[in-house]
């Protein structure tokens, strides 16, 4: 039982690093993909957060990004192995197009996550650890403190720039 907890915790850290890296690589903190993302960013900034981090958080809300790709890829690997993960990537791609997202962060994240999750299932992890881990990872960005999360993302974005 403790082992499963530790696996979920490790999966959360791996998922966090994966999706934040991909999102920042695809320049999500730079500009709002849709007007709604900018509105979310404005409100987060008004609440004491950083604009660039808020923009990335707004983009996560408004379109399936690498975080959604990582979650659905983990779900795909859980139900059907690598083909399931790649099917999830296709579904995320369709989701991006429906949401008029110009980028490919979600699809790239899903494909990368498929292989990462599969690799970890070969060394004793379960795909379910990554489903729970990804939910915890997104909770730390979107659900605990918008102020602190947006400032952290803005700091990482400055490193990227």
């Amino acid at each position: 039982m403790l082992g499963e907890f530790l696996h979920i915790l490790a999966a959360a850290i791996i998922s966090w690093l994966l999706f934040v890296t991909v999102d920042i690589f695809f320049r999500l903190p730079e500009a709002g993909g849709v007007s709604g993302a900018s509105a979310v960013a404005r409100d987060i900034e008004a609440g004491g957060g950083a604009l660039a981090g808020g923009t990335m958080m707004g983009n996560i809300v408004c379109s399936p990004d690498a975080s959604a790709g990582t979650l659905l890829a983990a779900c795909g690997v859980y139900v059907a192995g690598i083909p399931g993960g790649l099917a999830a990537a296709l579904l995320v791609f369709i989701g991006n197009r429906i949401c008029h997202d110009p980028g490919y962060a979600g699809t790239t994240g899903a494909v990368l996550a498929t292989f990462v999750v599969y690799a970890f299932t070969q060394v004793g992890f379960a795909a379910t650890d990554f489903i729970a881990g990804m939910v915890i990872a997104i909770l730390t960005i979107q659900g605990l403190s918008h102020t602190h999360a947006s400032r952290l993302l803005a700091r990482l974005w400055r490193v990227r720039q």
Partner: protein, 79 residues
Amino acid sequence: MIALYIVAGVAVFAAIRAVIEKNTGRKLPYANVLNFAVAGTIVLLLNHPLSLVAAAAYFVGSTLEANAVASTYAGGMKR
């Protein structure tokens, strides 16, 4: 099994925070966490290839709704 309870717990937590938060712009990220957790719960409850389709359909649909709500909140389409 623990994974399911963690995900369900996060869903409840996110739902409560989304209800408590008054500012619409800051409410949406909490709702987003709720969507992630519900999509994860669907797959954890039903280990079947089609549950992936159900989770993705739910997730993309809820993202599109969030997109629409946020865009309208921002002032809607400019003509």
